[in-house]
């Protein structure tokens, strides 16, 4: 037996020992696994099943195969919901990312009362979405709302906010920006705290301007953290439901009906759970595809 095989046999034995050693910990995971199968895995499998039926809540059900999916791809209302979701998500990703980056750079500097300012800044993230959405609803009131009063003070024309189809989605994005920019800030701030200081000293000696230091040192070193924040923000923006539902319920008309709202209405307002399940599956595939794409981006960022 050659040395190499001996080594590999020994290695394999060691690996096996490690596996056996590790296997003893399986029982720690069993209770959680049962719960996860019950409340996460089972729903997915059951959703696939339900999506093959014309299934009315509290009514009859009929096997229809892929008919729900076929209907979905020709449903103009769903098509619009997808477009609105893309519009909403892109705004609700780009704006918090830019603002969050700016905020993280600001909070990374030392200044008086920084702790207090940071605490106030992250409060929106933890506030109950429904409670906050109610206050925004009152602030958006076209005649009596405080926001229109503020606009007028700054010499700007009052807006109809969520009461007009033209402004409803940007207005809802405003709430989302208010709510979730703090998380982006925290994720990037964590990255800033971990940056080494040597490159900055070297750049200073070489006479680099602050902008150059930011552009050629901070940004590249920060890129992995920015990508993680981007992934989390994109997923959360796609998931947005509470504030949209509370503030507009998809209105006026269907002007703010995103995929989530469409899905909710199909299932629990029209009791069309078979069709809604098909929506869930399509939405799931979209989210997973996007997540895979973003993870792939992260791998590339990590390598360069």
């Amino acid at each position: 037996m050659s040395q190499a095989t001996a080594a590999s046999v020994a290695g394999r034995a060691a690996a096996k020992r490690r596996r056996n050693y590790a296997r003893r910990y399986v029982w720690f995971v069993v209770p959680a696994a049962v719960v996860i199968i019950a409340v996460i895995l089972f729903p997915w499998i059951f959703t696939i099943y339900v999506s093959a039926f014309d299934w009315r809540l509290g009514g009859e059900r009929r096997w229809v195969g892929f008919a729900n999916y076929e209907q979905l791809f020709t449903d103009a209302r769903f098509g619009w919901a997808v477009l609105r979701t893309i519009f909403y998500t892109s705004l609700a990703v780009v704006l918090p990312m830019l603002l969050g980056l700016a905020a993280a750079l600001s909070f990374n500097r030392k200044f008086p009362l920084r702790g207090l300012a940071r605490t106030i800044f992250i409060l929106p993230m933890m506030a109950t979405p429904v409670a906050v959405a109610l206050v925004w609803t009152m602030m958006f009131h076209p005649q009596l709302g405080v926001l229109n009063w503020l606009l007028v003070q700054f010499g700007l024309p009052p807006s109809l906010w969520v009461y007009s189809a033209d402004t409803v989605i940007p207005t809802l994005v405003l709430v989302e920006v208010w709510h979730w920019t703090p998380l982006v800030m925290l994720l990037i701030l964590g990255g800033l705290a971990s940056l080494p200081i040597d490159p900055y000293e070297a750049a200073k000696i070489d006479g680099a301007s602050p902008w150059q230091a930011f552009r050629y040192i901070t940004l590249p070193l920060l890129a992995p953290f920015i990508v993680v924040a981007l992934i989390i923000r994109t997923i959360d923006a796609l998931k947005a439901f509470d504030t949209i539902y509370v503030i507009t319920q998809g209105g006026p008309g269907q002007a703010s009906e995103t995929i989530n709202i469409f899905l909710y209405l199909q299932a629990f307002a029209f009791y069309n759970v078979g069709y809604a399940s098909a929506v869930v599956m399509v939405f799931f595939i979209l989210i997973m595809a996007l997540a895979a794409l973003l993870l792939w981006t992260r791998e590339r960022v990590r390598m360069t």
Binding site: A22, Y25, F28, V29, P31, A32, I36, V39, I40, L41, F42, P43, W44, F46, V50, A103, F111, A117, T119, I120, F121, I122, L123, P124, M126, A127, T128, V130, A131, V132, L134, V135, W136, T137, M138, M139, L144, V146, W149, W178, L183, L186, L187, V228, I231, I232, L238, K239, F241, V246, N260, L263, Y264, A267, F268, A276, S277, V280, I287, M288
Partner: protein, 275 residues
């Protein structure tokens, strides 16, 4: 000259920070202001900012009319129940996954993080209907596990991975079972991680709206659902509405103020390692 420029820079920076935090201040103070004013002042134009005199009538209203205490109690049971259950099953699971380095199993949990809560509702709703459990708090507690279990497991994995293993190994060499090593060595060391997991799970369960909205009956509403219903039924009664909204979100805001460090640690650790 240089001093002047420095000063201008500082003022500019101060203004920038103010612009960053102004929206948060505006919304929360406006919520407080609305809740302390009478209806006349709340609908006045131009808006009245400082309640004069402040009134607690809106709060009295909330408690008098809307079964608010019952809904608060429901919320407490659901959030504490879902958090406690998640800790009981999630802390050992985080430990086991960290020990086995079973990151692929952990990735399954992530699916719950990246998919909308709404997508779990149809099958679970049908299931609870079939089991005739609607009308009790159980369906709401169980669906909240969709949120709390992944949070706890995820925070605990990254926490247990960061713990030094020497102490446990010493205990195992001395003849302790792996359960004893977990119970008496790892668990006490993990207390800070458990605190983080508890706080985050509690907040996200407390804030959750969609599960209870679909599953709750008249008697089993949680606070976010109850408050949303107030909006639907009394369009322009802003005082009580703001008072109720503030009462709902006050516990989590106070928790955020008290445990800011843990929350930040949990969210960034879970976030950075999470995806």
């Amino acid at each position: 000259m240089r001093k002047l420029r420095r000063l201008a820079e500082n003022i500019g920076f101060g203004l920038a920070v103010f612009v960053l935090i102004a929206p948060a201040i505006l919304v929360f103070l406006w919520m407080l202001s609305l809740s302390l004013k009478n209806e006349l002042d709340n609908t006045a134009w131009p808006p009245v900012f400082i309640p004069n005199p402040p009134t607690l009538n809106n709060y009295r209203d909330v408690f008098a009319r809307n079964d608010f205490v019952l809904y608060a109690w429901n919320s407490i049971i659901v959030s504490f129940g879902a958090t406690l259950l998640a800790l009981v099953i999630g802390v050992p699971a985080g430990y086991g996954i960290a020990k086995m380095r079973a990151m692929r199993a952990a990735a399954l949990i992530l699916i719950a993080r990246i998919t909308p809560g709404l997508s779990y509702l149809i099958p679970l709703f049908l299931l609870f209907q079939w089991l005739e459990m609607t009308g009790t708090l159980w369906p709401i507690v169980i669906t909240h596990l969709v949120i709390t279990v992944p949070i706890v497991v995820w925070v605990m994995i990254s926490f247990f991975e960061g713990l030094p293993t020497e102490l446990e190994e010493a205990a195992l060499v001395d003849g302790a079972t792996i359960w004893q090593a977990f119970r008496h060595v790892a668990l006490p060391l993990a207390r800070p991680g458990i605190t983080v997991a508890t706080i985050l799970a509690f907040i996200f369960s407390w804030n959750n709206f969609v599960f209870a909205m679909v599953l709750a009956g008249r008697e089993t509403r949680t606070l976010p659902v109850a408050v949303n219903n107030m909006l639907t039924f009394e369009q322009i009664s802003w005082g009580p509405l703001s008072a109720a909204a503030l009462l709902v979100t006050l516990p989590v805001l106070l928790l955020t103020l008290l445990a800011q460090k843990q929350i930040v640690a949990g969210l960034t650790a879970g976030g950075v390692k999470g995806v």
